[in-house]
Symmetry: C2
Subunit: 553 residues, 2 copies
């Protein structure tokens, strides 16, 4: 898009620098609390003012080491207060914070580190094995920082040279003059999970992060009276921007540290104990959390809590379960690494609140929501033409806006993911209804093509999950000699229904929403469904595993 | 400040363009209501979607006239829905909207218009006389647009050429492709009220307005569930940014049209009838509003309403009056034309909420509040050195930030109002306490210098106003042969106390907070106090009027 210069304004040339969010936050909300669960389960508490003092020490120690403007620094850490300090301290010096997904295999992790040419790696002590496993593969790393309460001499490691996060902070000068980093400079790099091809790097600018934080705070109505529990891993799209949003308005922050999907009691305890009002997550964690709550007596009172839920459509049963058992509200949101976490938020507008029946409102809440002010979104057909906003016409979702990526870092050939007029091609397929609500119907590459017709794998999964016996489901298209592709469904039943539900029950249930020809040729009951490192169903792997299921027939 | 470039990010070069706020607002919140009181008292209602359609028509009609990128266009209007349309339609085409204070004298108004070289003027029909009075003085204006329900032929005027706002909209093409205006381009120009010297022009960029809107929404927690009544004139610092904040999140908007200080019943009726939750104003209007409410039976229920109150310190009696009689909350805020309206907001932080007694909380609420995240504020002594944030050390308030002006347009010599490191020198004197709360103690030029000591005129006014018999008060320093200056107090008593209160009562009351030597030498009971065009006490004029009061003694 050609930019047209108008009459000059008299504005200051002040940079949107992320470090200012904490610098001002500490000034305004100095005594607001930050709570963090440690490795050993004990709770650490300090304040925004304390955090800022340590962040300044961190920054001055980095400057006295060999870290300078433009260096890329990897971070491999759980959600804890030191990770939060790195969020502000590292980029504040002009370095680029490289988010490392601790669930990636060593080959993938080292690919990301080498591609970014990271100079140092910070990691949590209990990720020492991960750090040691990647070290021989990393070509540019000059040293490692262990984040731990223990003195360095008590930690055995083959890494060299190795520094202690706490020791460098302790020895550092508490006065630090922040450099005035240009807002267009990279603040952080996040690599896509790479379900297709190699991971690709999105380098967020300070401006991107700052704007997204303001927009998110305004749209999700986060205020000084909120308490935010950061469940979404902080290495996913900057923890969806929540830590910045909270700091911007001085909300109390709670970090759960490392938590386990098979023991969510700790998380639920934190929610109740710290009086959490806002949290974030995905059905992949909210579903097992609800399962845990079902078994609790008494149930936790979460009537003041709202969960921003992303990654995939929240099943109505899950939303109702939370509401009925705990009082909590689920707010669906949609985003991506390239477009930042919050592209849409599902807040029922007053007109719809009034007009819709209760069941219609639940149905509406499954949609991804309205596109936040600031972002342009287009839905286009295979020829690139915009389709109408009628809630029916589907097409690929294209996204443009002030905090959206316009390219991938140093990835020849990736330009095809962006249009000439500046939109990011999300690869997601969806509709927009006349009220402006976006609904994702599928990933472009997950649509199933059967006899020249399309079947949405996501719609079918959601329909299967809506059966009360089902915990999880995955639907993929598998090669078929006659129809090109035919759907296959993998289904995980809830414990109490195992062996009690037949394929025909699922088929009959699906007939309420699907034509007979669309039903999966095969339904397999399985114990688990393969996930990617970011917790999404790994359809690529499932398609590989079952590629012959209809061919060999 | 030197800007340091870091590693390049992969962001899009997307511009923060104010028109997008309405464009996206109409998409997301199309059916949310905009309510506007017309000249004749009838209520006009339409929606964001309707407003956006008219804004597009307006923009396409402007382009087909001779209005092009960079042109300055004056607007002389009350708070109504067409003024709101101009907020988006004019600058959307790349023109600069020149805010015209309809209370200025023709000489001042035409000075502003000539300085900005405005090409056209839009004005409300009932301001025809004002427009006609300035027309002969305006050197660059090529035409006038009358905003009225009447056809042009029914309006008698000497202005030439003259167009009808409604007719150009009616005839215009409803499809309009917005130009992609650079975010650093001027969106609007606002001239300072010029209590010293000629008015000076602040030219806000699109970026300034966009950022301020996001920040304001986040800090004041304005959401889709709010209903905002725009009391602050829209020609004052863009109505303090509220119309943008509301549009950003789809809050219902209410415009009161023209209202009169001596008949505030209409405003109070709107507040109750439209279920207003947020409004804005200053003690100059809130005090008479409260007086009106005192006489009402039953009292209006405003328990869901908060008023953002600026311009001067809200008296505790006023805040308590609103709380006790209506349930409404007063939130103090501070700003200026140069620094945008919202520099601080007084929201009691949770720690203080817990620790302070009720009376201490009321006292805290008189302060200007904490400085919103994003802005740097320094308090400096006469040598430019920062003073401690102890709540006692006072100095001039310097402001720097992403939406603050860095100069005045085409005003040689005005550079002295900005420091070398980019701060705007506000001319206000204040303190910051350890909790980060700013308190204004005076305007630099209104401080009274008596025998080498300083007396705060604002502190003394607030002390006088805290007496239950007092409606308004002004304190100025007048030349004195021995002490250089001595304070003079002008006091307006509330109706029921007139002639019943003596100077000694006021003096005794002041002794609770002031030393004897600080007391005004003279206290005059008056019927009204001179105000400037923006409703502030006109101390310059008062000082001129009473310049001999102590000299002739």
């Amino acid at each position: 898009m050609k930019i047209i210069k108008g009459f000059p304004a008299t504005s200051q040339a002040y940079q949107l620098n992320v470090t200012n969010i904490l610098r001002h936050g500490a000034r305004n909300f100095g005594r607001q609390e930050i709570v963090s669960r440690k490795y050993d389960g004990t709770i650490f508490r300090y304040t925004y003012r304390d955090a800022y003092t340590r962040v300044k020490r961190l920054a001055s120690s980095l400057s006295s080491l060999e870290i300078s403007v433009g260096d890329k620094i990897g971070v491999l850490a759980w959600n804890n207060y030191r990770h939060f300090e790195l969020y502000y301290g590292l980029p504040g010096t002009g370095a680029v914070m490289l988010l490392l997904n601790l669930r990636l295999a060593p080959q993938e992790l080292s690919y990301v580190i080498n591609h970014a040419e990271a100079k140092f790696i910070f990691f949590d002590e209990d990720l020492l094995k991960v750090a040691e496993s990647i070290a021989p593969l990393c070509r540019t790393v000059k040293g490692y920082f262990i984040i731990s309460d223990k003195p360095l001499r008590d930690i055995k490691t083959s890494l060299k040279p190795v520094y202690s996060y706490e020791e460098i902070i302790k020895e550092a000068n508490p006065d630090f003059e922040w450099p005035n980093i240009a807002e267009t400079s990279a603040y952080s790099a996040c690599y896509t999970s790479g379900t297709t091809g190699k991971p690709k790097g999105v380098y967020y600018s300070h401006r991107d992060v700052y704007l997204q934080a303001m927009m998110y705070t305004a749209n999700a109505s986060i205020s000084i009276n909120d308490c935010l529990l950061q469940i979404v891993p902080m290495f996913h799209v900057l923890g969806w921007g929540s830590p910045y949003a909270a700091t911007l308005v001085g909300a109390k922050l709670v970090f759960p540290g490392r938590y386990h999907l098979n023991d969510l009691g700790e998380l639920i305890e934190l929610l109740a104990q710290e009086k959490v009002t806002v949290s974030n997550g995905a059905p992949a964690i909210l579903m097992p959390m609800l399962e845990h709550i079902r078994k609790m007596d008494p149930k936790p009172d979460l009537s003041n809590t709202r969960f921003i839920s992303g990654a995939s459509e929240p099943p109505i049963a899950m939303m109702k379960g939370f509401r009925n058992l705990t009082g909590a509200e689920i707010v669906h949101s949609y985003g991506s690494t390239e477009a930042h976490a919050i592209v849409t938020l599902n807040r029922v507008t007053p007109a719809l609140e009034e007009e819709l029946s209760e069941e219609e409102r639940w149905d509406l809440k499954r949609k991804q929501g309205y596109i936040v002010v600031g972002l342009d979104v287009k839905i286009v057909d295979e020829f690139g033409n915009e389709v109408p906003h009628d809630g029916k016409s589907a097409g690929e979702i294209l996204i443009r806006g002030p905090w959206v990526s316009g390219s991938y870092y140093n990835t020849p050939g990736s330009e095809v993911q962006f249009t000439e007029d500046g939109y990011f091609k999300s690869g997601d397929v969806g509709t927009i209804d006349p009220e402006g609500f976006l609904k994702i119907t599928d990933r472009l590459k997950d649509l199933i093509k059967s006899g020249g017709e399309w079947i949405s794998s996501v719609d079918m999964e959601n329909a299967i999950i809506s059966h009360p016996s089902v915990l999880e489901a995955a639907v993929v298209g598998c090669p078929h000699p006659k129809w090109e592709e035919r759907p296959l469904a993998l289904v995980v039943l809830r414990d109490e229904f195992k062996t009690k539900v037949s394929k025909d029950t699922i088929r009959t249930h699906l007939l309420e929403k699907f034509a007979k020809w669309q039903l999966p040729d095969e339904i397999l009951f399985v114990d688990t469904i393969l996930k990617t490192s970011v917790g999404k169903i790994d359809k690529k792997a499932i398609r590989v595993e079952y590629k012959d299921i209809y061919v060999s027939e």
